[in-house]
Symmetry: C2
Subunit: 328 residues, 2 copies
Amino acid sequence: MGEPDDWTTYLAIRAAWLSFVGGCTQGEIAARLDVSPAKVHRLIAYAQRAGHVRFHIEGRPLECLEYEEAFSRSFGLNNCIVAPDLGGGANDEQAAIRSVGAAAGNLLAQLLSAADIRQVGVGMGRTLKAAVAAMPRISREDLSIVSISGSLTSRLSANPYDVVQLLSERSGGEGYYLPVPYLATTATEKDMFLKQPSVQELLARARRSDTFVVGIGSIGDDGHLRRMNLISREEQSALQKVGAVGDLMGRFIDIDGAAVPAALSEQAVGLGFEDVRGARVLALSGGVSKTAATLSALRTGVITDLVIDEALAKSLADAIDAKVPQPA
Amino acid sequence: MGEPDDWTTYLAIRAAWLSFVGGCTQGEIAARLDVSPAKVHRLIAYAQRAGHVRFHIEGRPLECLEYEEAFSRSFGLNNCIVAPDLGGGANDEQAAIRSVGAAAGNLLAQLLSAADIRQVGVGMGRTLKAAVAAMPRISREDLSIVSISGSLTSRLSANPYDVVQLLSERSGGEGYYLPVPYLATTATEKDMFLKQPSVQELLARARRSDTFVVGIGSIGDDGHLRRMNLISREEQSALQKVGAVGDLMGRFIDIDGAAVPAALSEQAVGLGFEDVRGARVLALSGGVSKTAATLSALRTGVITDLVIDEALAKSLADAIDAKVPQPA
DNA sequence: ACACGCAATGAATAATTATTCAAAGTCATA
DNA sequence: TATGACTTTGAATAATTATTCATTGCGTGT
């Protein structure tokens, strides 16, 4: 599938307007643009794939709103969005990320449109990436977007889920990328990175952000950490042994939201909780596999805004109820 | 068609998420929600009718961008959007309003999201109404929305195209409605309205708006004025005799953008050009029948931002070229 | 120039979505 | 409780959309 040329893009956008805004059938569009109906279908499909078409559902099902209400209270959240399940069964990560992405994308656009936001600090992760991809284009040429953590793998290869680039493209703002690993392999290596003037400058800048957007990671086999090989199987086991269930900004935390005593927890190259506490911190999390991680992250008290999916919400609510059972 | 109950709305929203965000087929949704496939279709159709689903096409066809560029230069516009034709032939008013509405709705959301906008003054008209209806919901509880002109018919019956109500509902802001006719029937009647303290207060408030959103009206048989019977056939003829081709904020102007010498032009109960000059003034206009009116409105120099449809743009460009032919 | 591989095309077909229609349900009134 | 007007329902059907597939067109290397 080669890159379509300008003319194709032109036709695709016209077809998309006619189809979605105009409500024309593909046959009508074909006649109007003087192409075959099959081509019209391909054009519209291309426009969607290329992200030129955006759907937004206003409102959410009642259950979601109830969860939102409950979590907002329990954890003193500013905004809480529970994105509806999108079929695919309870364990469909893809669907969860998609739903959270769509909901968070809109919230993000809303938050970043406020003129008093000058700089946003962003973490990494699939869900974050999906949210930024789903975000409508806004016009904030004066906005700065800064990495708050490294995002290279331990082998220094490029990270495919980088979010700074995409967000700067979507908002028109300028991106500042932190070219270091998410986790240093040793304390010495971490010091080495932190000694670099450019890194110090970027971190200082990152601390000045008005708003932070972060993902929540699990320690399990299906988390980013293992999947991207940011930690070895041995490191994973060691972390689990000392009670780590979640990863927030490269810090490893137990089910109560407290930092675990592990060397790795000190090797994150990036901002720490103390750097973001007090500012708005929007956290995104999708999928039931993140239940424990999300609960622990919420308990750190640094999160002010949350977007999760419905299945995770259900699972979270169950986990909370299990600890504090209702009197019969 | 009775009002659907809460449960229907609930199902409709869930179905909409599954369909548009999740990409499920109606059959899959039917299985998941345990209803018949036919019902799923009806639910999704309802969600769309009720405005819970919003499409946004990012980008416009090349021709539109070229017109935008040209008009921005010619008239020193801040923003100019030319909304693509949506089939239906060159004379389809409905399609033009729809397209302009969709494009303007998004621009409006963007403009009104800026925190430094405290108050917006709005005019009236079908196109304006469509734009506000297409506008995504935003959260600006501190925003004031004020009528800048009357909007009752000369017989004081309620105006169906009132836009203040809808915009205040969409933005969360508070609406201030000016309960007077668009045009007084006599100079005496106008004075009577203007003497009312409440009217004076509302007009004073309206003058303090940061941004104004207005429609452009034609004097022809198909304009709001005649259609809503705001002016009689005789008044229409009289206006046309003295060269009026357009109506901007209740002021009647000739093709050069100058006020026409007519009593009616003094009978608008609302803000005048002098009240808005200098502020941001977003004008909406749709349909080729508004060519002359739009040109005249642009020539008044009060308009800073413009949204029109492609057919009108074409027609406007032709009208301009006819006066200033290219050297052969 | 020729053959080769690959992408693009549109006719044909499969799948999905929208509409129709008869039947069942609902509500207000007698 | 019975009646009639009106709505809602889902099966059937019509219309539309998505996919398949054989073919064409195009660039590339020989």
